[in-house]
Amino acid sequence: MRYLIIIPAADKDRANAAAQAHFDALGGAFTFTVPLFLADAETDETPSHYWCSAEVAPANVPTLLAMQAGFPSSHINEYDLAAQPDYPQDRLATLGLRTARPVL
């Protein structure tokens, strides 16, 4: 089961610690490193949120959903990567967020 998880930037360290403690002892400390910005932000200097997309084993889903109580401003949504490839972008638009602008 795949989940899209978006957390406020202020929760980054705490969320990474929780990911490491509950799901990924080896690399969990770097789960939330991809920054998001308010859609109308003119620069990419201050992330407002971070996000990740993770395949979660069914046995671990209750743990993930229970953790949302400790992160009340987070957004945790299940989606189907194959059937809903545009879901992450659509979710960002709904929340008024965007990814970093690419340097091309």
Binding site: L26, F30, T31, L81, P85, T99, V103, L104
Partner: protein
């Protein structure tokens, strides 16, 4: 004994066409590592579980591919590839917006797809294809003498003088491109293959993966 009748028809050995600096193919069962078959030990790895691309068995011509989720999946090369001249071949389905390889922070080379295919040098220089891609294609990038040449299914798409075309440091990039990327094979030669070796390598790779010209 079970003999795969298609094994030899789809065999591809990049060493038939030149020295190879990195080669990632339909091998491996551990999503944390895409083993480098070139012998150079330049494995592409990812220690964080949520950032590991999924291995999808039998996705293309009966062979497995790696699927990047377009949010945060990313593989890091053990060593950056810094050869000034190179030829890179990718068998990929780039979805609707994805970065395939390179670096997209600060300046640096990035091969990316946004409606059509582009190579960006991080300094505003770009060479692009006007061809709208859908599904798997063989994408070739040749760098020689400061000129970057782009090919799709062995058909030339354009040449452009670009700067900052190295290093290649990563495969997939979720920070700025959010389309799903499916990558079947990547081969990087540390030289600009000539117009005999390049089409021959492309034809063999397209045959292996069942990509029509």
């Amino acid at each position: 004994m079970i003999i795969d009748p298609y094994r030899y028809a789809r065999a591809f050995n990049p060493f038939d066409y030149g020295t190879v600096v990195a080669w990632y193919s339909d091998t491996g069962s551990d999503p944390s590592i895409w083993p480098d078959l070139s012998g150079n030990g330049n494995d592409a790895t990812q220690a964080t579980m949520s950032k590991q691309p999924a291995i999808v068995p039998g996705a293309l011509n009966g062979l497995q591919v790696r699927s990047f989720d377009g949010v945060d999946d990313l593989l890091l090369l053990a060593s950056e590839i810094t050869t000034v001249a190179s030829t890179s071949l990718f068998v990929a389905d780039m979805g609707n917006s994805s970065a395939l390889i390179g670096r997209d922070t600060a300046t640096g080379y990035v091969l990316y797809f946004a409606s059509t295919l582009f190579i960006g040098d991080g300094a505003g220089g770009q060479v692009g294809s006007s061809q709208v891609l859908s599904g798997y294609h063989l994408i070739t990038v040749k760098l020689a003498g400061g000129v970057s040449s782009l090919y799709v299914n062995s058909v030339p798409q354009g040449d452009q003088s670009l700067s900052n075309l190295t290093p290649i440091a990563q495969i997939g990039k979720g920070d700025t491109f959010t389309g799903v990327l499916s990558l079947a094979e990547t081969v990087i030669f540390p030289v600009a293959l000539d117009d005999t070796a390049r089409p021959a390598a492309e034809a063999a790779l397209m045959a292996k993966w069942g990509i029509a010209a």
